[in-house]
Symmetry: D3
Subunit: 316 residues, 6 copies
């Protein structure tokens, strides 16, 4: 029996967010929170009772400690964390926007420790001791070194009998569609659960069509157990070997968007780990709806909150 | 001529509210405000120029003083306040929620001074010197002792020739429908104005039907002068001996919900005290709409604001 | 070639704004920002790369300095600023309102320095050295002295060959429609660009009808090059000698309203100065939409933001 | 028996205070609180259980209401309040300073309602129904009209058998020493308790010397029952017909200075009203020390806090 | 080899703290933080690299979760935590005071889950698997049940060969000196390290004299390995079998006092666990000095910060 | 006659500061302000009425704009600003510390635009059109490229007849004393005013002794017109050809330290530019005392505030 329910690897970052009603060019204070797509997934699964391991590589000192404190507070295991003496901590700045003013993200994540941390730096015997390995295109996109690390994790996890989940999560500012296809194709082919939005399917894999068609083509090409997808505000969609399900979503007011997709992935995987991914996708919808009602990339949620009936008002 | 326009009794509380965008499980500051359904009614009536007396029983010390300061600031008379040396001050915590995340209320109001304060502790000669006695199911629900106090207030106010208004205000977490029916029935039978929502009519009095039918049945069963009701976001409804009126409400963005119902009751009673309850219900709608635009259980309103025409934008 | 692209004159003020969710009658802190319709126009044009001069008259000391710091920070030229030893600084208080609770503005702008500063106090040789003179009804409304100043600026700018833009911007609390018509008619007759809302056309010039009719009548009566108008949330409208254009606007969530109209005017004039007022009106729409998403009367905007395609979401 | 223990008259103001660590010329929010030297005295006495009446004249509307809410919240009786339709509300701005940077106060209190409210506007039968009339040089300094009001209050209170307390409280920016001497001399001659600092004794009455000499000369010249004085951070001093007492003060960290002097006066008068002014001066020291530990002009204090032994640390 | 370096038991609480410059009776927001003397000790030791177990009993739900999140974030192991369905969470309110205004603490910690949790509810096999058991008089003081729990922990830890540290930490508001002596004497007799202030030695054990005498008497009476003491701001003192050492402390500005004593104890025990308690007391001084510079009961400190030379200024 | 009174060059940065009472490892918001030693000097001189030019090289976009807005708001001329398409903006993080907890600075200023901007990128004809060129060791320390820029500026300014001021401002974390000596010696030899602390004299130039001796040796070695020095909290010292003056400083409470040294330099140079450097050093003391009372690296000061007599309290 594996020690961990889920093991994942990704770069810890710090987000600085301009307050609502202010502009970055004229602000005097910003909110600050730890961020990491993969750690967000581990963090929500830990809150839901799963044994979750997150591995990263961070500089020694306060900025790195800052990120660890957040994920440790919800019970993520970080015993495989690599701490480096040099290098930067990844940062990003966000102006949230409102109405027709779009959110504006400024990345400052070059020259970081994580980018140069290679296969040989990690403790694979611990990292691979898991029921499920969760990997993302974000980690793979950063450098050739991180692409190798992701490939290594995928190959060896599968070899050890773990399940593999891949979230394509394409970011135009980090790499090209061509490079993403080249790096992610062999990993997708090993994946048991493939998360890929309709938009990313086109940008990375050049697959177009209706959601039903796109997920069918992803299923055909990579042969995972499940394909999970979304189409902007529409969906989510679940493609299994048995068929295709479209779930209905209603729009939700946004207080803080980052992390909503990670919460969707985490709660879906929570269902998958219990053998009920159909239920998991519903939990994922609910988790992502809750995620945008509070600040921070990591969603804070109690397990029972996934079961609150829709339309519940104040109870007293 | 009675000294007070209105006299009421209820437990003062303190509310701690999580800031928008935060979760209770991870916050570092909360807003804090005095709360009390009955005092909110007295407080709005005082702002509208009525002579209003609120009676409660609170522990000596800062937490009790805190509650009194708020209601004193709008001119509520509290000369009958009982201060006890022991006991707790009632508290409650609220996470406001947003979108599909419902508000979450955690009560911490057991073992309080008010629960054990009995008929013999109060200054009835002052409390009964009023044109209108206002009582609620909340006060009656807390303990047998407070139920007796409410019954005593109702009986003796009526005996002294005062009018009686009862707000059923059923709270599932405080008592059962059966117990509520048992305690409130004799008081409802004495009431001149009965506030009872369509939902509470079913839960407490097992009356179901359309709003027109439910209010008719309430009128028939308890024979008040007026029945005032609401049905979630619909209504309000006014049932008089002459007939049934339904008022039209439009939805309003919510900044802070608690106290809106109390403001509705208060402004309706303001009309009742002037002999124009039909107008009062309209003021009540307006007062409850304004109530949710600012924080705190007590609504802060200038008398002339009840008369702002709907659809008024900024005037300069 | 004139030194300035635009020259304008108007009274600098300070706004105190009650925080959302609070009421003025019970608040303990207010936000504070410099304000001035004319300086807002100059300030946005300066951000868009125009050479903009703003002239005012302010008391010496911190309150006056406070206003200058804001507009200097975006590059407005203020070398013609008059500083007086006596008099008050104009203030106003705003409760923003929400939903059915309208915004409430309390002016405290009597007995100010600007009201008694006359033609002889200003440095006209610099102020008139401009391609475009921008004047408003607000400045003209304050006192007979300021009305004379506006008239002098209009007459001499035109005499020197500058273009003239007039924003009628009628404020009921500052003067009557009759007085406005008397003062503004000769200036409107000199104007090359006339900004006048459908509502102001009626209140000031007694012109009624559809937007197409009203702008046609304004064009006929005052013979400017362009008439630019709006009708509450509808419009904007552009009337040229060639015809009439109605632009389509979609509603936008309001975080802070003051200054949106000024941003519309500024970006429209930015187009006018480039010989493409039709494009300018579109920029104006966009600028005014952005204006209400952040606090302060002065809109903070980067030139490239005028060109963000509608419907852009976060890009990363 | 008189209805009130103390009756006083003075102008309600609003203070805007720059946050610590910021400068007025570059701030974006200010704290805001009601202020009034005379109301502060009434407000502390009300908290100490005295029946206190404060009379002022304020414009109708939110700014005036704002001031009343504060003093009503601690139980000051304001039934004689005059509300005017025109005129301004007195304001002042304060930069608190730190270390060698002195506090900076900018008054904006000209053209206010209070300045033109005369003897005929007030309800003297209620205002004079008091054991003690408390008057200050600040009220007398504003205009000839307010000087007449103060003189009228003094003369008629004494005539009705009330005691009279005068706080000289000289403000260089409001009037000259000569004018103060002329106006205050007849009032000081009627006073039972005279508050006059060593510095004010020189500026107003041209009395110099040691504190012992100055208070002796004040006693000789005006023949009150008591002279109470301070000398910057030294003192306080109490001069009775029996002799001279100097109290020892230790320096206290300042969080917010305004109102400390008023708290000293109030607690001293609390002792005077109980026939133990010697004890009252000690309470005054304590009250003024506590006053500067929290924000706002009105000191918030529980009666038992006057009796906390010096040197008490946290008790738990 | 034991699993834990330290194991401790105590009641988790939540502290609500009035902001500096405000008074509880008139505030609108309070800061909020988890608190627990024993968990603070475990939490600092965890940050210093020790394997620390904290056991408590808390109600299910958000308030209990809130406390756990804090201590989990620094790596405290809480696998023995008891969660109950009923009962209250312990709260306390603090007005920090300033200068001569002492801090004011209001406890609201009656009727809590922890008070009724008995020996049979805990997982002793895990809790006793430790090198050092740390117990306090606070836990012992709450009820007879908690006194039994503390006694059981002491007896069985010693029986299992663990070391025992006792912090007397007498709280007058929680129990009497007599009861404390009765309960704590047998535990002190088993202790290897005894923390007892000079004041507590008198109040609990009736031992008076100079610090040298008091610690000698404590050593003689209870025969621990070490006695560690303080005398208000003086000390600390270390009494070993070899002799007596007095350490020199300099006063430090206080931003937030609670938790400083716990940090002293924790860092001293850190030294004890390494076999160098003399060094540990120095670390304890440093840790407690740092503790009061930041908010919260739990001190946040990096291991290397214990070694910052005194007098270090900014390094850049 | 030169266009500018002062011209300087240095790297614009952004500072993120942890709030007082919080720790970086656990904070959720930080204050944010522009920073740049050389721009701070230019910024204070601009406020004092000098024509000041600051040159830097910053990336295009919001982070660069952010820095420019600050210095533009006080009137610094930045027409020679270089904006680059790539590269980072220099950042630094500061935990302010308190009492024995020293301030902690974390630099994140590698890989910035400024570091690779060379002599050929700057507009020297404008930059050298100045009465005084002001240069610092900080700019010289960053890379070989920036060292060349500083040397070029010094040589050509002197060649054009400008005066030269050098602030050694040694930063251990940026370069070694040996490299500093090598780079700065030829510049110091050209300088008219040399700012060098007693500590830097030792670290960079290996000069030790009393302040009188050290400044004498600096004067002898580099032959400037003036040597200005400080010794931690002592001094300042002025060495002229006529002799040595020591000024007396009193300690001041620190709210925000960064920028105090720059304010000292700026006000001293203000005196130098007026031919009264002795007076300037006094202004410098005052400016640096004021600097630490408000937040931000740039000191905000009115010219008349340099003349406030020491010991002035509130004036009203």
């Amino acid at each position: 029996m594996a020690t961990y329910d889920i093991s994942t690897i990704g770069e810890g970052q710090i987000r600085f967010t301009v307050n609502s009603g202010e502009r970055l060019m004229f602000t005097r204070s910003v909110s600050m929170n730890p961020a990491c797509s993969e750690a967000n997934v581990a963090g929500l699964l830990a809150q839901l009772g799963r044994n979750a391991l997150w591995t990263s590589s961070l500089p020694k000192g306060d900025l790195g400690d800052y990120i660890l404190t957040e994920y440790r507070s919800v019970g993520v295991d970080m015993k495989t964390m690599v701490r480096k003496s040099g290098g930067r901590t990844a940062l990003y700045f966000m102006e949230p926007g409102a109405g027709p003013m779009p959110a504006n993200v400024i990345y400052d994540r070059d020259w970081t420790s994580f980018r140069s941390t290679g296969i040989e730096d990690y403790d694979w015997s611990t990292m691979l001791d898991t029921r499920l390995m969760f990997l993302t295109g974000i980690t793979a996109s950063l450098t050739d070194t991180t692409a190798e690390v992701v490939r290594y994790a995928a190959d060896h996890a599968v070899e050890r009998g773990a399940k593999l989940a891949l979230d394509v999560n394409f970011r135009r500012k980090l790499w090209s569609g061509e490079r993403a296809r080249e790096v992610l194709t062999p990993i997708a082919e090993e994946a048991d659960v493939l998360f890929c939005s309709i938009a990313d399917a086109e940008k990375v894999f050049k697959i177009t069509g209706t959601p039903e068609e796109v997920t069918a083509e992803l299923m055909k090409r990579f042969e995972p157990e499940y394909v999970v997808s979304t189409n902007h505000m529409e969906g989510p969609y679940l493609r299994t070997h048995e068929g295709f399900t479209e779930y209905h979503t209603t729009p939700v007011p946004v207080i803080d968007r980052p992390g909503a997709g990670d919460s969707f992935v985490a709660a879906t995987l929570h269902g998958y780990l219990s053998g009920e991914i159909e239920e998991g996708v519903k939990w994922g919808q609910r988790a992502s709806e809750f995620a945008i009602t509070h600040k921070g990339d990591l969603t804070r949620i109690r397990p029972d909150e996934l079961h609150i009936p829709l339309g519940t008002d104040i109870d007293r």
